[in-house]
């Protein structure tokens, strides 16, 4: 399974991912104990691709990527975010 990581060259540290992840009590997004206190994603707690909540509400293009491939997943590509349209329309 692919895992997610923060792309610090694009992240604005707005913390939307942190808030959304905490709301679901996953707490996979955390503030790291390094001098810049940047946001990081704990791959052991993150359930991606089952959960994509951080991707849906992140406003900074390219700031979360799949760690293995480097693929930008903000904004979420159609294969990630179309679940609810499928659910609503039955397509």
């Amino acid at each position: 399974m692919p895992t997610l990581k923060i792309n610090h060259e694009r992240c604005t540290e707005c913390r939307m991912c942190y808030v959304a992840c905490r709301e679901l009590n996953l707490n996979a997004v955390y503030v790291s104990l390094e001098p810049l206190h940047r946001l990081e994603i704990d791959p052991h707690k993150c359930t991606y691709p089952v959960c994509t909540v951080c991707l849906a509400y992140c406003p900074a293009e390219g700031s979360i990527v799949e760690a293995e491939s480097g693929r930008w997943v903000v904004p979420p590509p159609p294969d990630i975010h179309r679940w609810w349209l499928k659910q609503a329309t039955g397509l």
Binding site: T12, C14, A20, V50, V53, Y57, P59, P75, H81, A88
Partner: protein
């Protein structure tokens, strides 16, 4: 639909977290109410910019910067956001603590807007320093009633009313920024708007997140719909 709006929808509006309880409600209000307002606002922004570009001088950029300084300066922003913080009752603060944190952070975001407008005015040689703006009434007057706090007093004071404003109004800001970036190649005007792109989008995401997360019952959906109707009325958009 204008391609800039289509692109905005595809990239930022439609993506939704799996299981988000308010997602279908958000889709309905987007299709029934927001889209028309966004389309009108985008065309208005494009027309204003094209009119300015066609004028043959850059005086329109001076007026935009002065108007921006008046409309979103430090005093206005502190007052607006402070009032938003007060819209959550003490007994409900634990329930809406994330909304409170987002609003507290936005005080800082809003206060920074005026600096961007002042930088344009200084870089273009229209003022020597920001102090000069204290003597310029154009930098302190604007047509909205917000100076007396009316624009922030939604008809329905509810913690989630702000979510509708974030979702609907910040999308308009995002589309306006997209219009400037699309049409204008002046480096200072780009600076004035490009710097704001991610921030305004972040506020839009706050609204989207709050609606998806909290607007799961008719009781919690009503203040959002009421506020949207109020905002559309102010834009004079009939659905």
């Amino acid at each position: 639909m204008h391609p800039l709006l289509g692109q905005f929808l595809e990239k930022w509006v439609w993506p939704t977290a799996p299981g988000a309880g308010g997602a279908l409600f958000r889709r309905r209000i987007t299709e029934e109410k927001c889209l028309k307002g966004w389309e009108v606002a985008l065309h208005s922004s494009l027309a204003e910019i094209e009119k300015g570009l066609a004028s043959g001088t850059d005086d329109w950029q001076r007026r935009v910067a002065l108007g921006g300084y008046a409309g979103e300066g430090v005093q206005m922003s502190i007052k607006q956001m402070s009032a938003q913080l007060l819209s959550v009752d003490l007994t409900e603060q634990e329930k809406y603590i994330d909304l409170q944190r987002m609003r507290a952070r936005q005080v800082w975001d809003e206060c920074k807007h005026s600096k961007l407008h002042a930088e344009v005015l200084m870089a273009k040689g229209w003022i020597k320093d920001e102090r000069e703006l204290l003597q310029n009434s154009a930098a302190h007057t604007q047509p909205l009633p917000a100076y007396f706090g009316l624009s922030m007093m939604f008809p329905h004071i509810h913690p989630l009313a702000r979510a509708a404003q974030h979702y609907f109004v910040e999308a308009i800001a995002c589309l306006g920024i997209a219009a400037y970036i699309h049409l204008v190649d002046d480096p200072m005007t780009l600076h004035e708007h490009l710097s704001q792109r991610d921030e305004e989008l972040m506020h839009f995401m706050e609204g989207k997140y709050k609606i998806d997360t909290y607007c799961t019952t008719p009781e919690n959906q009503k203040p959002v719909e009421d506020t949207l109707d109020f905002l559309l009325h102010r834009l004079r958009v009939s659905l």
